[in-house]
Symmetry: C3
Subunit: 395 residues, 3 copies
């Protein structure tokens, strides 16, 4: 209780401008904005664990719009909404449908008359996902200003082509807990490494989100991937600048072994090369099925050249104290378990398995914190009121 | 606040018998019933906008049974249920399945043990949709009287083959707001006009619902369609009678241009001809796929003869002050936007677009009002209690 | 009100250990455990009927994981969760997917960060369904002990390959009401009989659940089926032992007519033979489509030899007072209604139809009672607090 009161006090020192702003990309948010989300998430987690209900809505909808399938993020979003008192309503569209313009503008309003949030996952098309979210946001702005909507629902990016902020923020919160504080991350080496997977077309949003966020906390980031597996250049460049400014660094290299040396934190994960994703987007938009099959064949063939990019005992041994913190957004492609050869060996994954669960466990409260700060101008006051009200979550 | 108190006072003058009666067709409801729904909807809307939660259920289910796909009505129903404190539970049936008799009787009870409302959309089969709702209602009556159900869930028609009351009532509420009052509608000319669409099999329930409802408020209705695109004759005849009784009129004509002259309100919308829908129902029931394809071909061919039934600048110019209020249940088939040639030109639609959003925005509170009046014998007392309780919707 | 207070007092005499234990099989529960569930269910039912809300959660999720389709149990689970204040979140998996090991362990945790219950139906594969539930439960134990989960969600068996406890407990509660008390069931003859159905692969869990539960209350059970249609031998043996211990008996016979003589209660229902289900499981696991088709053909052919196993007027006439209580988990295969020839004649079903609805009506509160007793150490105290709080379910 005392701890929560102190945390609430600490919030008052932050100058965040999250109120009435969508959460679309971490790099659009200030340092204080990010601290605010982390702190509010921590407080919400503690309230829940102490059986104090942080319900702030007596009714209201949180709309989820998953344009790609999801279990983890879907449940995290539903849990966050429910914790604050909102009911989830899914917007089911035809899969992979690319609606734009009139349809988006209209639908955004039609689903929002009594909605407080819209969470969107749209990570299939490079150059499209984040753009779609902004189209929805603009439509909501218009609807609200024209008196169509009694409130402006907040938009939350549940993964796009550029960023995966609910993931990267949960990952950061996990690091904060594992290392004791954000300050303790300063000077640490984190390796965001490509890893082999027998699959194709995995989005770039996780590695991009990780380097773009972690580069702001004084860490030394090593981004490692086989030649040709680069990320969106602008995001790499941005992360580079941010790393410099925060007193850290960002290096790009092309050997998992080299990269992992003395790493404090490792994030080995597969992704598709940027240029493949670009071609794929064009082929998808053209509906070119043969082209897509050929591209998939090429891509898997290229992947297969890098089977040695597996995070296993011998690579782990190169890291700091032979025990770097292993991270993954899950599910991982585990060699001999979920596939023949994959991103990580079974033994190494098993050693860090519970830690990856703990990592994932921060997502629901991170999303709830994004909601709360988007909707309440003075989160400290709101949380203090919740604490004073002292309503039981479970009787 | 004062305004809400006055509105609640006004309710007391109405002698409605909505309590414990399903909402299946507007023409089964008295004038006072309709006024009651409109007034309760207006009060609920104001309460919500003033952050006063009108939640009346601590728990309970609102079952939705969509036998045809829907986004708008689905969200409206979910919003209404949520506003009053109910959780939505979908009854997913195989699409287009025509269950009757034993199955309906049993399922209606099985889903209703703790349900407060069942919202049904069944608009595919002419002569079947409304009948199905009555089968469900009869099964619920039996279940309640036999002690199977602790309460009799109210049934709400979310669109059938005959009427679309949540749409037409929201449309009426929109007119009430646009023209200032129901009284102001007296003498106004409203044109319910067929319009061209490159699609087939659109239900008749919207035009039927519009003429059957608007004919009760002293308006001059012009129902315009190409020869052969008539509606269910009994509903046209009923609307004719009602128009006469209310001091208005109903005329049928066969030219969009002629009809639109001096119109105050226009509702250009495509629908399938009654006789085609009848044949289609027979073919669907027989499972005659070839017959259905042939019928679709014929119907689209017939439609194509009436491409000139587009509501555009030159038609708009014929209306009162060249600015009749344009209405649509959305989504509209917009020429050059959602189809090559459609119901309305892009420029005209754009001019009235926000107005159509406002129109749609009345649906959630109309449905909530149908629920509240179905369940509470004295809505004025219930709303006064809500106001006195003064519980925040959002903390 | 007085009655509820007395019922709550009566609870205090029971020594149940339901707290923090999953509900997976009735035969793992003590006599007092079962009485506790029945009593709590009865109290919850009365509270709801007297408009007292038994909501104990301000927020929280009840996850449903239906690996086989369901309408009745789905709605019962949703109703129970809703009654206690939880929102339902469905875990949609690919149909008939057999996930094990890593995937189950991980998913169980990923969906449970803010979940209070997980209800699982998995009745397709013999030897797999209950095992799967235990895998989920073990994963939740680990997650909770490792600090991944702030609470250990309770697991509720919504039908597996062995038992269907929410059904059998609802059936027992129905018998309790029909005969006045559990004591009154002592010495009664209940016939669990196979019946003809033109379908294939119906699970064994209902007949197994019925004999394993009813054998504990001093009833004389007759299990009747055509040669070759036996159940899992261990469950029959267990039921035999239990029947002896409770002062009843269990007999197996192979003629519906013989079995039904002087029956007080009859439960005629189709199921697949154990050895067919075993073969089917093997073929499904092997993905042997041809083998499955051949097995289905054989099975339907075998079924067809027993068309005379229909519960009809002439069989009914053999029962006690020609009026044994007819039970069914619904939907029944009714001759001339849902199929040409089926489990029960139309006339007999119609006579007992409302009784089968009443029987089904106990399921939501049975599930709610399983939830409440799993989560609250002292249900009497919790229910007394609910009564004292006296919050209206509907305003």
């Amino acid at each position: 209780m005392m701890e929560i009161i102190q945390s609430i006090e600490a919030l008052k020192r932050l100058k965040s401008v999250l109120y009435r702003h969508d959460f679309l990309l971490t790099w659009e948010k200030s340092h204080d904005d990010l601290l605010m989300i982390l702190e509010v998430a921590a407080i919400l987690k503690q309230l829940r664990e102490q059986n104090i209900s942080p319900r702030v809505f007596d009714s209201g909808l949180a709309v989820s719009n998953f344009r790609d399938k999801s279990t983890r993020t879907r449940f995290s979003f539903a849990s966050a909404a429910n914790l604050l008192g909102l009911a989830v309503q899914d917007l089911d569209e035809e899969k992979s449908q690319l609606s734009h313009g009139e349809t988006v503008r209209e639908t955004a309003n039609m689903i929002s008359f009594l909605a407080d949030f819209i969470g969107i996952r749209d990570d299939i098309f490079l150059g499209e996902g984040n753009k779609y979210m902004r189209e929805v946001a603009a439509a909501l702005d218009e609807g609200f200003s024209e008196g169509v909507l009694p409130q402006r629902p907040g938009v939350i990016n549940l993964q796009c082509d550029m960023d995966h902020p609910t993931q990267s923020m949960a990952d950061l919160m996990h690091l904060q807990h594992q290392f004791g504080s954000l300050e303790a991350l300063r000077g640490k080496k984190i390796v965001m490494s490509w890893a082999y997977s027998p699959s194709y077309g995995k989005p770039l949003s996780v590695p991009q989100g990780i380097i773009a966020l972690m580069s702001r906390f004084g860490m030394h980031i090593e981004l490692a991937y086989p030649e040709g597996y680069g990320l969106i250049p602008q995001i790499v460049e941005l992360s580079h600048q941010q790393a410099k400014q925060s007193g850290g660094s960002l290096t790009v290299s092309h050997s998992m072994e080299e990269a992992m040396k003395d790493a404090d934190i490792v994030y080995p994960k597969s992704w598709a090369p940027y240029h493949i994703m670009e071609q794929r987007t064009r082929l998808l938009l053209d509906g070119d099925k043969e082209g897509l099959q050929e591209l998939e064949r090429q891509c898997l063939e290229a992947n297969a050249m890098h089977r040695n990019w597996e995070y296993n005992e011998s690579v782990l041994r190169l890291t700091r104290n032979q025990d770097a913190l292993y991270m993954h957004c899950l599910p991982a492609d585990i060699s001999g378990v979920s596939c023949k050869e994959g991103e990580v060996s079974a033994g190494v994954f098993e050693r860090y398995r519970i830690l990856t669960y703990l990592e994932a466990g921060f997502k629901p409260t991170i999303i709830a914190a994004m909601m709360l700060t988007q909707r309440f101008e003075d989160p400290a006051a709101t949380l203090a009121a919740i604490l004073n009200r002292n309503r039981e979550r479970c009787m």
